[in-house]
Subunit: 273 residues, 2 copies
Amino acid sequence: MTEQILSRTERAQLAMVLEVCAYPKPGNVDRCHDYEDTWLEHFIASAVFVRPALERAEAGGAGLGALLKEATVLTTRHRGGNTHFGAFLLLFPLVMGGDIPGAVSVCEKTTVQDALDFYEAFSMIHVRMHETDELDVNDPASRDLIRTRGMTLADIMAHSAPHDMVAREWENGFARTRRAADLILGHGPGRRSVVDAFLSLLAEEPDTFIAKKHGEALAAETMMLARDVQKDLLSIEEFDRICLSRGANPGSTADLIIAGIYVALGEGWQWDF
Amino acid sequence: MTEQILSRTERAQLAMVLEVCAYPKPGNVDRCHDYEDTWLEHFIASAVFVRPALERAEAGGAGLGALLKEATVLTTRHRGGNTHFGAFLLLFPLVMGGDIPGAVSVCEKTTVQDALDFYEAFSMIHVRMHETDELDVNDPASRDLIRTRGMTLADIMAHSAPHDMVAREWENGFARTRRAADLILGHGPGRRSVVDAFLSLLAEEPDTFIAKKHGEALAAETMMLARDVQKDLLSIEEFDRICLSRGANPGSTADLIIAGIYVALGEGWQWDF
């Protein structure tokens, strides 16, 4: 009856499930809101389908790039598009390494082959890239560039870090993942902590997924609205409606929350208390 | 991108996920409604946690009773109580046998040991029994009775069949599972078919879970209300509200729907089209 007896794989799957079910979660898919082509069920199916890759990660059976490739193949067996690819960039190092220090060590040890596998994985799906990016996943020249420069997956993440808060975790020792876990643990047992932690992260930093999709200004304004909710100047339901009407979905914040739930579960957080 | 490349285990897990997410589903836990102690997340966690037992069933690695015991241990790692035990009585034979004819054969071959394992599994949780039942799972004398009479798990199900529509499936060749699959396939691709099939099953036969909990009269009345919804005399949302206010949750119908989704997925039904 306790999370302590869950495997790392199960903790990762449960983290994906608890994140997507958390409600109300402004702007994102949740219990009571789908996007037209991406539904609650797609996120849950993705959490179910990825299991063999997570198990291989837990057993130390493959490199990170190969695992991300396997996860991509497994989770594109639904038609909901990109559901968890950002989250996988945090969850797979965490499952391989066990905890944050272990994940940092996994990331540091990535290779050029990991980088090439990562590019192959992400070229299978449509991933939103920074528009000025020279390392476009859809451009075959990117692979040559990686080889020529001898870039590891950690180097790729360093390249993306300025405009991607998930990649930034690789640079800063999973600092926002740690923050998310601390927020969840601080709020105490029960699933409501996920919503509170989500709102806090959103109020602290502009979401880079929104920034890539709609520009820095909307990302900053969304952050300010999250602060208004914290100050009781705006209801979370109204904030949700505003985000949805603008298509402002804080997808990278959701990725950090998933990683944070994984860590919190490992540190004794009781989700269904 | 097609269900054909899902394993039996994954089909079973997806069936559990699609059933619980289907909305509106009168009286039961769904996307927008929890019971106080049993939430959407508990049902999804149960679908995730049961995987090793399903994989063993698919590989033919154990007897049905032992698998039901394993599934019980795995899925009581949440605090939501009984989520899928009825469904497991249909899903495990289906995963072991592949399809309905295979499941029927699995059920016919069960042993006294399967019966004893089943009782052990179900004594771990609170399961609602028929009040006049001499084979009470919480009574140690039941185990002696099984041994003395040499009852197999199929015999136990035959004993329960008159007042339990899940047990009845073992008697009638999974007839209602077949009906559920045909309804889903008939409604065509897309998750809405699950809701329509659920309503149809409910309109055709009184739910035995409601009957055990609240008596035959309320089960029959719930069936009549489902017919009213089909005739457009009552909205499905209002029907849902009535069921919830009475605590009338058609849990056995949900179990049949899960088995029906499993079969439909195996016959090419496209859930996210």
